[in-house]
Amino acid sequence: MPEVGVVNLTKKFGNITALENINLQIHDKEYFSLLGPSGCGKTTLLRLIAGLIEPTSGEIYIANKRVDKIPPEDREIGFVFQTFALFPHMTVWDNVLYGPKVKNFNLREAKTIGDEVLEMVKLHERLDAFPGELSGGMMQRTAVARALAAGAKTLLLDEPLGQLDAKVRNEIRYEIRKMAKDLGLTAIHVTHDQSEAMSISDRIAVMKKGKIVQVGTPKELYMNPNSLFVAHFIGESNFLEGSITNAEGEDLEMELRGGYKVHTICKHTSTSGRIILAIRPEAFTMDQGLVQKDNSLSGRVEKVTFEGTFMRYIIRLKSQDCVVVIRPSMAEAWTDVGSEVTVSFAPEKTHVFPYPQAGLMKEISV
């Protein structure tokens, strides 16, 4: 049962608290991501689970066994390093067989395992190559193969795709997920790239400044962010300031800066007074000219960027706030810079957050 559990985990480096009171349950055979900006403590958390560093306090469980007092070699984990850390003095084959050898498997068994994992990562032709002779993608595959060959049921990946170029990165991320799923592994994947986390994870923990902000499936995080930070970090959001004028159950009426009167349906947040309304750029529809509609904001197109699949418009509202609107590039006519437009949104496709005490920029800053 390789579930991974973390209870009240704290890690301090001198006076700096890298992780504070972390609690986390990762299910058996789950592909789980730790996502956050650099310096948020996600790699520290992974290294604590691996036993590469020791916690200041708290407990770590792997497969229902408490492991925070035992060394990494006894934790039954596989670890893929950001720099791959392939042993430079060994060939691909020797690197892959290293785990089975030091774990004292019998030789035939070790070779069978080596063959299997190399088959899986399609590296059979490069058995005798040294790490220095491999491309980034091959090194990455070797690193994964090496971690798998040691037979661990828990795979820890520290920014495993960080060193690869965009194209290879996109290919390999699905391969890694597929391998983990095929072998029935529990995988914990550290990344700062939200699209990477979104596309491969069963669940994601979003971290900020040593704390976990929200845990959920990619869809939950995107559709129902619990904070301005998550709304900002996962995908993209427009933040508009305003205050609530009337609240009836989930139905909120509010006035945004610039005098726009809108109403939204907000399931979770019961709030009053000063708020921030978050709207995704793709949640807007756009009409030419000034159109009278519910929940609409009018302004002038300030910038248009062609992004292939999408058109990105930056629209300056009367209030001088800007909103970003994304529209499919092929499905409708393009709008030129300087045009007067009205953008509108459905009441249920928004999120309302109380205005943060420290200010908006401070709240969403990493």
Partner: protein, 560 residues
């Protein structure tokens, strides 16, 4: 104002000149010429000149036997010493780099002590500690370790120890811990991780440390002569022969023949050995077949690590540190007797002592400056591979030759060459050349290593911003490498002050400080134990001052 204006136009002229191809080539070419004419070729020609005299040795089988035994002893001791140094030095370096204790900085500095103490003073200190009735021997009655091979072994172990520790500390600091962590996550216990991953990756450094310790042991003359007694290794054999010749016991031809014979064998065998180590070393595979789970697990954790650390520290303190500093005892005694005022007033033997100190330090300073000037272009040539990869690598090997040639053999052949070619050459100049030859590799090595660490991108960035090569060097390369250059300079200086073998070989009238100490201890110049103690003590104190300076200037090393 005039001075400043002149300085500016001078610098501008330099900058302009530096971008001219012809100037660049002249500088590099002259560096190569200086290397060949002053450093590499004179010792070779010195031997060639006296080649005929070797017949003398073949005519005297007894002398030849004695020479061969002595040389054999040299190699056996050097091999044993460098192996022991690795065994003791690696755990020490490990402790220094891995322990989180604040005291490790202090331990690091203490480990350097035997390196900066001139070997002659070190030799006397060890002699007192192990051999005289005032040292540890007094506890056992009589002398615990008599003069001879065991004392030489102890001595060489002590002065090569810092070299090994220094190399290994550097290697461990550069080593990417990620490899070891990867090995741990794959199931290796710490000892297995060290055996199968860390040590193969660090093998080049092991080899480098081994070679340096080996070369130091082969080369050392002054201190070895002090503790040798009737025992002879190569350098002591040459030294004894020189003394017999001075005393009129052997003919000049016999002396020269035997010296050339011994020097040639020492040089050829050591060059051959280093060639073999260089070629075979990297191919040598550490056995990695099986795993011994129980034993290796037991060797890995707290208990074993603690006892290893304790043993390392005990060996360091009892074998290295205390014997090295034992000379402080008689030096301190001397302070409370008439010896101190005598010494300070420079009466009796002290007049020549102070002269020798002055000579040693002046010589050290001159050699350091000359070494910097001649070594700098060479270091750039090697670090930046200006001659292409293969020629630069070849140059790198050539530059290292003086490091592995026993210094007394180098000195002997140098003096043959210069005295034959320029009979009226001042002895001081000869001394400078000899010390320059011996210290040259240290400077070039430390500078080229420093330059290699500076990314070429940085230089190119400066060039694209409009800097001429001279400005690039003075504003980018020099500031980034100044700590390495300074520590290289201090190393050259200490090595020159400490050098005995080559000095003895080239001089007849001049006396450097270590030579004076050797003469006092051996009774060539009568001196009592308090005087010797104080004389050696002063040398040691001056060395500490230098060590302190070294620490001061290299403290900010990690800044960039």
């Amino acid at each position: 104002m005039i001075g400043r204006g002149f300085r500016r136009s001078f610098l501008n002229a330099l900058k302009e000149l530096s971008s001219k191809r012809a100037v660049k080539y002249t500088v590099y070419a002259s560096a190569v010429v200086v290397f060949f004419v002053l450093i590499l070729l004179p010792p070779i020609f010195g031997i060639v000149i006296k080649w005929g005299e070797i017949q003398q040795v073949f005519d005297q089988p007894q002398l030849m036997g004695r020479a061969l035994t002595a040389i054999g002893n040299s190699f056996v001791i050097a091999l044993a010493v460098s192996a022991l140094d690795l065994v003791a030095g690696i755990p020490m370096a490990w402790l220094i780099t891995r322990s989180k204790s604040r005291w490790m900085g202090v331990l690091d500095t203490l480990a350097d002590i035997p390196f900066v103490v001139p070997t002659a003073a070190l030799g006397y200190s060890l002699l007192l500690f192990w051999n005289s009735s005032e040292g540890v021997s007094s506890l056992f009655g009589g002398s615990l370790v008599s003069t001879g091979w065991l004392l030489i072994l102890l001595l060489h172990f002590v002065f090569s120890f810092p070299v090994v520790v220094r190399v290994m500390v550097g290697a461990l600091l550069d080593y990417k811990m990620e490899y070891e962590r990867a090995s741990r996550t794959l199931g290796a216990v710490p000892f297995v991780a060290f055996r199968t991953v860390t040590s193969p990756i660090l093998k080049p450094s092991f080899i480098a440390a081994f070679i340096l310790a080996f070369a130091r042991s082969l080369s050392e003359t002054g201190a070895t002569f002090i503790v040798a007694g009737a025992f002879e290794n190569g350098p002591v054999f040459i030294q004894n022969l020189k003394n017999s010749f001075s005393a009129g016991l052997v003919s000049q031809a016999t002396y020269e023949g035997a010296t050339v014979f011994a020097s040639v064998i020492l040089i050829v065998v050591s060059c051959a050995m280093f060639g073999v180590i260089r070629v075979l070393g990297p191919r040598m595979k550490l056995p990695f077949k099986g795993i011994w789970p129980n034993i290796e697990r037991r060797l890995s954790y707290a208990k074993a690590a603690n006892s290893r650390n304790t043993l390392t520290l005990v060996v360091f303190v009892i074998i290295v540190l205390v014997p090295s500093l034992f000379v402080a005892l008689p030096a301190l005694q001397a302070v409370f007797t008439r010896t101190l005022p005598d010494a300070l007033s420079g009466s009796g033997i002290w007049g020549s002592y102070w002269q020798s100190i002055l000579l040693s330090y002046a010589l050290g300073a001159i050699v350091t400056i000359l070494g910097f000037i001649t070594g700098l272009p060479m270091a750039i040539l090697i670090a930046r591979k200006k001659l292409g990869a293969s020629k630069s690598a070849f140059l790198d090997i050539l530059v290292n030759i003086p490091l592995i040639v026993p210094s007394i053999a180098l000195g002997v052949s140098l003096s043959f060459f210069w005295k034959q070619s320029f009979p009226f050459m001042p002895e001081m100049l000869l001394l400078i050349f000899a010390h320059l030859s011996i210290t040259y590799p240290y400077f070039v090595k430390s500078m080229s290593a420093a330059f290699e660490r500076i990314s070429i991108d940085m230089e190119e960035a400066a060039r694209t911003l409009g800097a001429k090569p001279f400005s690039v060097f003075s504003s980018i390369v020099l500031p980034l490498s100044k700590y390495s250059i300074l520590s290289g300079a201090i190393m050259v200086f200490t090595r020159s002050v400490s050098e005995t073998g080559a000095t003895i070989a080239v001089v007849t009238s001049l006396r450097t400080a270590p030579v004076v100490i050797v003469e006092w201890v051996k009774g060539t110049v009568p001196a009592n134990s308090l005087e010797i103690g104080l004389g050696a003590g002063i040398l040691v104190m001056l060395s500490f001052l230098i060590l302190f300076l070294l620490r001061l200037v290299t403290r900010g090393k990690g800044k960039y």
